[in-house]
Symmetry: C2
Subunit: 635 residues, 2 copies
Amino acid sequence: MASSFGAVKRLIFGRPLPSDRLDHERLSKKTALAVLSSDAISSVAYATEQTLLVLAVLGTAALSYVVPISAIIVGLLVLVVLSYRQTIFAYPGGGGSYTVAKDNLGTTPGLVAAAALLTDYILTVSVSISSGVAAITSAYPALAAHTVGICIAAVALLAVVNLRGVRESGAAFSVPTYVFIVMMVVLIGVGLYNLGTGAPVQVVQPVARPVPGWAGLALTFLLLRGFAEGCVAMTGTEAISNGVGAFKSPGSKNAAITLAWMAAILAAFFLGTSVLARHYTIMPTSTETVLSQLGRRVFGQGAAYYLLQYSTFAILVLAANTAFADFPRLSSILARDGYMPRQFMARGDRLAFSNGIIALAVVAALLIVLFHGETSALIPLYAIGVFVCFTLSQAGMVAHWLRLRDPGWQRRALLNGLGAIATALVSIVQIVTKFTHGAWIVTLIIPLIIVVLRRIHRHYENFAREVSYTGQSPLMFLHHTVVVPVNGITKPAAGALVYATTISEDVRAVYVAVDPEVSERLRHRWEEWDIGVALTVLESPYRSIMRPLVTYVNDLVERGHADLVTIVVPEIVPRSWSGHLLHNKTALFIRTAFLFRPNVVVTTVPYLIGRSARVRDGATREDPIAEPAELTAKA
Amino acid sequence: MASSFGAVKRLIFGRPLPSDRLDHERLSKKTALAVLSSDAISSVAYATEQTLLVLAVLGTAALSYVVPISAIIVGLLVLVVLSYRQTIFAYPGGGGSYTVAKDNLGTTPGLVAAAALLTDYILTVSVSISSGVAAITSAYPALAAHTVGICIAAVALLAVVNLRGVRESGAAFSVPTYVFIVMMVVLIGVGLYNLGTGAPVQVVQPVARPVPGWAGLALTFLLLRGFAEGCVAMTGTEAISNGVGAFKSPGSKNAAITLAWMAAILAAFFLGTSVLARHYTIMPTSTETVLSQLGRRVFGQGAAYYLLQYSTFAILVLAANTAFADFPRLSSILARDGYMPRQFMARGDRLAFSNGIIALAVVAALLIVLFHGETSALIPLYAIGVFVCFTLSQAGMVAHWLRLRDPGWQRRALLNGLGAIATALVSIVQIVTKFTHGAWIVTLIIPLIIVVLRRIHRHYENFAREVSYTGQSPLMFLHHTVVVPVNGITKPAAGALVYATTISEDVRAVYVAVDPEVSERLRHRWEEWDIGVALTVLESPYRSIMRPLVTYVNDLVERGHADLVTIVVPEIVPRSWSGHLLHNKTALFIRTAFLFRPNVVVTTVPYLIGRSARVRDGATREDPIAEPAELTAKA
């Protein structure tokens, strides 16, 4: 079994880990900040840019709106983070929106949250990777032609790292996050200093409002859409509360501290980026990101600029990695609850949920291919699911407090209620303002996922009901007849007969006669052979092997000669693929023919060409099936 | 089993025929001439043209060579036909080149003949069909763009007709052959009459020899190549002697008469076409065949011309049909001798060798696609194999007469010997003159086929030696342990246990524990269940289901607890394809894991979701496997 495939697998994915190491695979606060906050913090790479992209129709007047909009989003962020802090303490086992919504609001809200989360995890990977690659192609425009290829390679790398297991992925990825944080601090610091000292910065004053052609309702709608797109900065905020279970003890306290740090860093970076973009008069282009333009203006085309771009790429890859931790975990919870296929429930050799990781990588890569790796095409699909989850999760918490009524429940319920109302409003703004820009896809897919989850659940429920068994004693006497189709006196046939006589006293060898001459010869040889098993010759006027056999077995059962029939088929197993072309697939045909027939079991007794194939090194016993000839001497 | 697939199959291929109708499917002389001579006679559609194509570099001077070359070929034809006449009487069962060469010269010459015949049958289909379609596109140039498509459709039609059985194909195809014969007689008659009366024919005198740039060795080589290409007229001559077995009694006499008729018709048509082409100064073009040009000149653009073209197409389709009769027959003989896969040996529902027919159609269609349906590109590959077979067949007959020494054997041996020498020389001329024009492909493929035939033979020989069994009594006492992997107390598990206790007294239910909590619960329930079968819980620290099971079973065998172990696996059979995604393929994994292990048999007990699936209408017995719950009441 130790094949070369196994060796390659170990090289790439590492040695199997025993289940009792599961508890050791937990994250310290510092590592958790790198692994679980990267999604939120990395949003600064595209959030400001998305708002500017929407407002670009206003010309540089857009710049006068970007800072107020960013400030509103930061306010919303603070509200949501305070709200989630309560969830962390209420659900120390990892309070994902699915769990909170399902426990407190019921199954349907839970499934809405689950569907929204699943789509958002997928989009986190697609958006983060394509945005990360945009950071690279901003620095090296020649690579732009290979965008999709680089994206796919990055997704594949993430999948492999995650299949190795969660702790190693944390350790491997901590450094780049901190480099990004340092680079952003330096960028914003130097940028603001330059602005303050009036150093070599060319500050352009935005043109005055109102912009021609944009006023009243149209302008309001445009600004709302800019706000909706900017809200993408808040994606990933829920990662820490979903992942409380991955923290070292005390989980809740560590998670809450990490959440606070994350929020502070995100708010500072997002606001800082927007302020700098406004004062450096930076507008988005199709070939270079806003952050790259900022870096170039603040640092010049030097090492610091390239380090900023590399670390932007690195933290966005980490952001995608968050989804690689959360998607499989949610899938396994859904599978445990019977809403996703059971295959998502099992941990693989390395304690990671292998099937979830693979499924996520495949779907995210597909999205990247479909949208040609363009961040701005993918982003309108994003954030909707996140805000739906925010809403459901916080509404769930309100129900939670109303039910528990702990000391101070009123204050907590009020905070979560405020958060729920605010994020519900933002959800509606998201759907309405971005609907024609791709949001319609998400509003179709989320209900579709809910339908699929429900159908899977119904299948498992029906299955469980169907297979449930309350009878007491399945042991009973059955008249058991064994039919052995033979085509001559050969070792495979003899092996099958050895097996047949071992499992029943009523054994019938059956030969389907196509050529009367050949069958007469066999009948004669069989009599000489004289092994105590009678040979039945079935005539086949139409030369079919199957039809007479099926009729014979059906008759046995229907005429009451047998309660149960086993067909023992000698199956030739060739050593090479070409051998398969040279032997009829009779065993397979017989199995298929009787698959849907009651009272019939088909057993194939494999006969491997080349006797050594079934005799292992150091085997101490002979194989009565593969080597019936040797048994004759013993008998 | 009476599915809609079966209904469609019957509609296209007809109802199954019983084996005893085999003898009735034989051909009268008239039908045989249509079915078996069409290959030879139809050669006039391209033989003259091929010679002219080669000689075209000489300009119209080519025309002065075409009649002498044709006359030499007709002389060769007469010699070969007289030689084959002797074969027909010596081998009344159907003396194909393979049989004659193998019986008289040994295995290797036999296999050379077989390989040459197989390639030639394939080329007969490709060349005849593409030439037949050229007759149509000559009449309707607009169809030329669809050449390949029409060719493939024709091949598919032939395959279907032949899968229906040999007599019906004869009956369906007699009429067009005779129409072609009539049209050719009229064409040559009217053409010669016009020439004699000096009617509206514009006869151009070919320019005088020598042609500039072509003299001596170069001219000789060119003329030899022209001769070699013209020899394609003789392809198909062997069809009648191969097919003696398909004639009505007395087979040999009827076949000999048909052969004589065939030779006379072929000789007259071939010479006639060449004479007319010479005197009407017709040179080949890439858009119209020589025969079409002749028809247009002799008949004008009227109904007679179109009838000639249609019947040319029809007889060429019949020629391809000859190969559809012979290729499967030769394949079945080779399969019977162990040189081709056994699947070629069996006759299908309609008494035709279905697999041979399908294989021929696929390979011939492939060749047509590769060569874009161009006759002149395919023809250089053709005829080589035919002449190799002529040579081997007649050399074999010489050996035959030398061995038998019947009265008159000297005369017969001399005739066959002359034939063998002449065709051997032509074979060499074929290979040498056409080598760079595609003949090299055939000289590679024939040895390759021989290697494959030999390897297949070696496989079957080794297999027969390996499975041969001379032991007397395979019946013996074996300690038989049955292992039933269960994952809970369910109907599938209970069904498997019913089966297990039926086939052995030593039954062990085995549960692989991944989660200690769940396994403790099952252990407890199992004790309560109390069915008399103990539950063994196997720990799985690495969460693998397979590894602990494999170790457990190996231990059973190696520690001598069991001579033989059967693993009875309850297998969930879902009703829909989506169901397969929702259930683990444990049964398949277990079967695969133990396929190469001695002393172990894996039996899957199918459990079909939806009980009605395994309960047929009107079934009088309950299924103890599918419905163990009901048995409790009975027990």
